[in-house]
Every structure is written in C-alpha cells, then in structure tokens.
C-alpha cells in the first residue's frame, strides 16, 4: 500500500475527464470554440442549401395544401429546435447551478435568445401556413398556444437575465427559472392530448411508421440536422463574445487583443 502513495498523490485523469475540465477554462474554451465555429457554420450552410433545394424545388406539392406545404421545411425544424433548445438550456442551467461552472452558465444563457428566435420563426411560419390552409392566421389550438407560452418562458428567462446587474447572479437566477419552466414543458406537451383541436396530429414519429413520403421526409430531416448545426455555431459564437465581455480586464483577453492589434 505504501509503495503506491507516490503514484496516488498525482492521480492521472482519464483523457475525456481532462478534456471536460479543460473546457471549463475560459481561454481554453475560447480557443477550442473558435476552431469549431467555422466548421459548424460551413456544415450548416451546406445542409441548409441542400435541404432547401430538396424541399422547395424537388419535393412534390401536397395534393391538398398545394405549394404552401413547403413552409413545413422551415416551420417543423424550427418548432423542434424551439423545444430542444429550451430543454438543453434547462439541463445546462441545472449543471451550472450544481457545479457552478461559469462556461455552462454562459452557454445556458446564450441559448435563450436563439431558442426565442426559433420560437418566433415557428409561430410566424406557422401562421403564414395557417392562412391558406385553415383560412386564418391564428387559431387558439394547443400547439400554437403552447408554442406561444414557450416564447413567454424564453422572454422571462431573457428578461430576468438582463435585469440583474451582476452577471453570474443573473445567470444563476435565470438558470433556476429555466429549470422551473422545464417542469412545465411536459405539461405543455401533454396539453396537445388534453385539448381536442383543429391542428393535425403529428405525422412524424420515431417509433411508428411515418405517414409522409420520403421525398418530403428527407429535406425535413436534413433541415432538422442543419438547424442543430446553426444552434451549435450561433451558441459558441455568442458564448465567445460573452466571455470576452465578462473577462475584458483579465490577462488572457488582453493578450488576444494585443495579438489582434
């Protein structure tokens, strides 16, 4: 036992653990994110061009909805993202509150405006689709309403974050609010089932067979993946800017500024 104390004193971390620990350091994260961002934007651009080409040009028009069905290639991925980003914000918020990692606080808070933007895109695209299809821009059905409530939840998180002056305290308060809001997310989801509505039921599910033709499914899935890359790229870009802003008096930011000048 005693012979091992020398090696035990300096336990070697698993490379993955070491990597995660390193990511918590602002300068390291800044460099790492900076290397990734151009690639994320590039993949997003290629996938979006491909997805939109397949969706807007190649895919057939719907026999009932006509050309307006093409709005779903924007609307549905945006709706998925609006919910996914809220969950990821809440999960990051939880991590930020439990382990008090500043980078995660910044990432969680940088997610909020992106998610809010996706929610607005969903609502706008949805109402533009609703006009020719349902004959009205707005219907108070479960999904529209829950999307609107989701927007309010986002605005609450953004509002709280921006009202508290001390950045870390603001982030922690807004993270807690995001977690509380996330408890509402399943209720919002199940409100689809509680309310009988005008809205069509979902036609894509991972479990059962999809009732949508593959010529329409592929552009949809490509757009869904593209929006993930958009989120990643936008999130890291925002986080880097926020880091520079918060650490503007620290040595590592000064060094970067010197290099730039």
């Amino acid at each position: 036992m005693n012979s091992n104390t020398a090696t035990k004193a300096k336990p070697r971390k698993h490379p993955v653990v070491l990597f995660i620990h390193k990511l918590g350091s602002p300068p390291w994260f800044y460099d790492f994110a900076g290397k990734f961002i151009p690639w994320l934007w590039l993949i997003f651009g290629v996938l979006t061009v491909l997805g939109l080409y397949l969706g807007l040009v190649k895919a057939p028009e719907d026999y009932l909805q006509g050309q307006s069905v093409r709005i779903i290639y924007l609307h549905v991925p945006a709706a998925w993202m609006s919910m996914m980003i809220y969950s990821s914000m809440a999960v990051m918020g939880f991590i930020a509150l439990v382990w008090r990692i500043r980078i995660v606080e910044i990432l969680a808070m940088a997610s909020a405006p992106i998610g809010a933007a996706f929610t607005i895109v969903t609502l706008t695209a949805g109402s533009l689709w609703g006009r020719p299809t349902w004959g009205t821009y707005w219907v108070w059905d479960a999904r529209l309403t829950s999307e609107l409530v989701l927007l309010f939840l986002y605005l609450g998180v953004i509002g709280l974050y921006n009202s508290i002056d001390e950045p870390r305290k603001a982030a922690r308060a807004a993270c807690l609010l995001a977690i509380v809001g996330a408890v509402n997310l399943p209720i919002i989801h199940y409100s689809v089932k509680w309310w009988n509505t005008l809205h069509q039921g979902s036609s894509i599910s991972l479990m059962g067979g999809s009732s949508i033709d593959s010529s329409m499914l592929y552009p949809l899935l490509i757009m869904a993946v593209a929006t993930k890359f958009y989120y990643g790229a936008n999130l890291l870009t925002r986080a880097r800017i926020k880091l520079l802003e918060q650490d503007k008096r620290k040595a590592w930011v000064r060094e970067i500024l010197k290099e730039k000048n």
């Binding site: 609450g156 509002g159 807690l176 509380v180 509402n184």
Partner: protein, 231 residues
C-alpha cells in the same frame, strides 16, 4: 457556527413564523384589502366592457373569475418577501439554522391565508355577478380552493428570483403568468365541464396532483431562488 435546531423546533419555528406573518398582515389591514378590492374591481369591469347579457357572462364567468384571481395573486405576491428583504430579516432567517425551505413554506402559507383564501371566500359573490350557473358554483369554489395555493407556491419562486430588483413587480408578472397557464386551463375546464353537465372530477384530480407537486417542489425552488438573490 449556528446551533443545530432542537428536535421538534422545526414545527415550532414554522408556526412562530406563520403567527408572526399573519399578525403583521392584520396590523396593516388596509394593505390586506388591496388585492381583494382589486379582484372585485377587475371582475366588475367585464360586464361593463362586454355588456350585461346573462348568457354571455355565464359563458365567460369561469375564465374571468380565474384570470382576476391570477391578477390579484400576482399583485399581492410582491409583499411575500419584500419587507423581510428590505429590513434584513430574510438574511437573519438564512443564518438562523432553520432550513430556508421551511421558512419559505411558512411565508407561502401565510400569503395564501392572507391573499388566496379571500379570493375563495369572495368567489360566490363574483359568481353571482358573472351569472355563473348555480350548479357549477361548488366546482368553482373547489377549483379556487385547490388552485390558489398553487398560485402562491409557484409565485414564491418568481418573487424569490426578482426580490433583489428595485422594480421586480413588472418582471414578476412576465415570469409567473406562463407558469400559471396549465392551472388556468385545468381549473376553467373543470368549471365549464360542470356548467355543461359533464364529468369534472378528472380536472379536480389534476389540480390536486398539481397542488401536491408544487407543495413538494416549489418551497425548495423558492429557497434556492432566495439564496441566489441574497448572494
């Protein structure tokens, strides 16, 4: 260096705090009445704005009364921790050695007794004004009795988060109203179902589930929010 609370002192602390808050509230009786008067005024505005048609009023009665209850609760929420925050009592609570969750729960209970219970008690009058069918009055009172504690519980989280802001009240409504949406939906659905002669017990069951969940979780979230605000 705080002493470990003696056994049995948790409930003592809870009751002492409850007694203190109720005493303080009844010493300021006019302030106590503001949310109640607000509730009456808001509900009376609806017939004035929409017209006195008894059919229409009866149809919108559950929604109007419930929305007025939400507004009145949010108006009164700011008082939940405000004075204790401003005079430093809240910090004393934190270092008192008693769990902040328990303190938050005591304050929430006193808030409900002061602001929520009057809404429940006044609801027959509101129902009369709004021409609510008498057979759904009981359900209306039940939904308010089950729902207003949830409003106080969820609201306490919002108050905890905004307490350190000078103008927290405006932000508070933005934070809290989206969280109130499911309660509003379920409660009004119950009353409307009762008005239409449909079964409504499942909605009451959902409200009870919501009440149990929020009693279990909200005080912890409110305590965490207060700790963040006071850090």
């Amino acid at each position: 260096m705080t002493a470990e609370p003696l056994s049995g002192s948790l409930s003592k602390a809870f009751l002492a705090l409850l007694r203190r808050d109720l005493l303080l509230a009844f010493r300021r009786r006019t302030e106590l009445l503001f949310p109640v008067i607000f509730l009456l005024v808001v509900v009376s505005l609806f017939p004035l704005g929409i017209g006195p048609g008894p059919q229409l009023l009866a149809r919108i009665a559950p929604g109007v009364i419930w929305i007025a209850a939400l507004l009145a609760t949010v108006i009164s929420l700011d008082a939940l921790f405000r004075s204790d925050f401003e005079d430093g009592t809240l910090e004393q609570f934190i270092i008192s050695g008693h769990p902040l969750t328990l303190i938050a729960l005591a304050k929430i209970v006193s808030h409900w007794l002061v602001a929520g219970l009057p809404i429940v008690l006044l609801s027959p009058l509101l129902a009369l004004w709004m021409n609510l069918p008498s057979e759904s009055l009981g359900v209306m009172i039940l939904t308010l009795a089950l729902g207003t504690p949830i409003l106080s519980l969820i609201g306490s989280i919002g108050v905890g988060l905004t307490i350190s802001l000078k103008r927290g009240g405006q932000l508070l409504s933005l934070l809290v109203f989206p969280l109130y949406v499911p309660i509003l939906i379920i409660a009004t659905a119950a009353v409307m179902a009762a008005s239409d002669g449909l079964p409504y017990t499942q909605f009451l069951g959902l409200l009870i589930a919501g009440l149990i969940t929020s009693v279990t979780l909200a005080p912890f979230a409110a305590a965490a929010a207060l700790k963040i605000s006071l850090s």
